[in-house]
């Protein structure tokens, strides 16, 4: 058999991180390709457009959880750094007070890092999970993980699916209202 030419893929905006690595969706002519990358190994999963029965964007609590994790860590590390600095300040006449600047710097750095992550997490918007329903059930996709890119991805993916499957059936016309009963 001759080697078939590799299909061309179009990137869908919005990625996401999971335990499988960095995930991203790509559109081929007749399937959706989910790529999970650990930098040196890429694993692929395909969902053929003709099999997709539904596509759903589901809200998740991931943003809230990370918000708490980063916020609490930043606060605690900031308080510890402040406490150490205060201890160094009140003992500034002692020779050893210089040694306190190192842990204070470390905790300050941790606090700053967590604060940055907290702001990034906040500005990325609400978190979500994209799911595709096929004859074998619901399949959670590893990307996009934020609502804004997911909504745009949904429009793009839905257009690609409808190009293969055709438009969904329109609702049946409503039955006519019953004729008023004549009263004598």
């Amino acid at each position: 058999m001759s080697a078939s030419p590799e299909p061309t893929y179009r990137k869908v905006r919005g990625g996401g991180y999971s335990w499988k690595g960095h995930g991203r969706l790509w559109l081929a002519n007749d399937y959706l390709l989910e790529v999970n990358s650990t930098f040196i190994i890429e694993s692929y999963r395909r969902i053929f457009f003709q099999d997709v029965r539904a596509f759903v964007v589901q809200r998740t609590n991931v943003r809230r959880i990370w918000g708490w994790v980063f916020g609490v860590t930043a606060s605690i590390a900031g308080l510890v750094a402040g406490g150490i600095l205060w201890a160094a300040a009140i003992n500034r006449h002692e020779e050893w007070h210089v040694a306190l600047y190192f842990p204070a710097g470390f905790f300050g750095l941790v606090s700053l890092l967590c604060l940055t992550m907290w702001i990034i997490n906040l500005t990325l918007g609400p978190s979500c999970s994209c799911q595709a329903l096929t004859p074998t059930g619901w399949h959670a996709l590893s990307a996009p993980r934020r609502l804004g890119p997911a909504n745009r991805a949904q429009v793009e993916i839905a257009a690609a699916i409808q190009a293969v499957q055709g438009p969904p059936p329109s609702p049946a016309p409503a039955p006519p209202p019953p004729a008023p009963v004549a009263t004598s």
């Binding site: 395909r46 539904a54 959670a140 949904q154 059936p169």
Partner: protein
């Protein structure tokens, strides 16, 4: 409200908790909450929901009559379509649909064995990126105290870049030759650093005598 036909009650379930959704199920424009877990859902149904694909024939194919084209693998069965790769006529038993393509069992197994079919490749090892990683990380300063290993990691980086030069790269991003080139450059740098350290130590020890 959705502009599509209603969903059979109880047939569409929430992906989070499995509860049956309402008669119209999903809405592409507005977010709706699952009645049980209250998770926000926004989405749409497609034609395959109302018209599922025809069941795959698992029994015998249609018997051929006089004048019919017959299957290459089952001469008694009527051919329904040709293989998209080799052109052999196939009956419904031998037809292996792969997205929009239809392959015969031989072409499918050949494609699986040698990773020729892009549609069935499960994963790929990215040689160029591995070379880049092995070339760049030891140069970041952490391993500078372990300078003798730079010779090995630099050599490995160059070797991996050369081995992977002709091999297929990422399915979506291509071969990424830039990573292999940087891998070779960083590998040479590592070897250079290692040789430099060696000469430095030799020079210092000879001058201390």
């Amino acid at each position: 409200m959705s502009t599509t036909a209603p969903v059979e009650p109880g047939s569409l379930t929430c992906p989070a908790c499995g509860t049956a959704l309402g008669p119209y199920g999903l809405d592409a424009a507005n977010e709706a909450a699952c009645p049980k877990c209250h998770v926000g859902l926004r989405g749409q149904l497609f034609r395959a929901w109302w018209a599922p694909p025809a069941p795959v024939p698992t029994e015998k194919g249609m018997p051929a009559t006089e004048g019919d084209a017959v299957c290459f693998f089952h001469p008694t069965n009527r051919a329904v379509l040709p293989c998209d790769a080799c052109g052999r006529f196939l009956c419904s038993v031998c037809d292996m649909p792969l997205g929009s393509r239809h392959l015969c069992p031989v072409c499918l197994s050949k494609g699986m064995g040698k990773n020729k079919l892009a549609e069935i490749i499960p994963r790929r090892f990215l040689w160029a990126r591995a070379a880049f990683l092995l070339g760049a990380v030891p140069l970041c300063g952490i391993f500078i105290f372990l300078w003798p290993i730079l010779f090995a990691s630099g050599g490995m980086s160059i070797l991996i870049a050369l081995i992977g030069w002709g091999r297929p790269g990422s399915l979506v991003r291509g071969k990424q030759r830039w990573a292999a080139i940087f891998g070779i450059i960083f590998g040479l740098l590592q070897i250079g650093v290692c040789v430099g350290f060696f000469y430095f130590i030799a020079y210092v020890s000879s001058h201390n005598k």
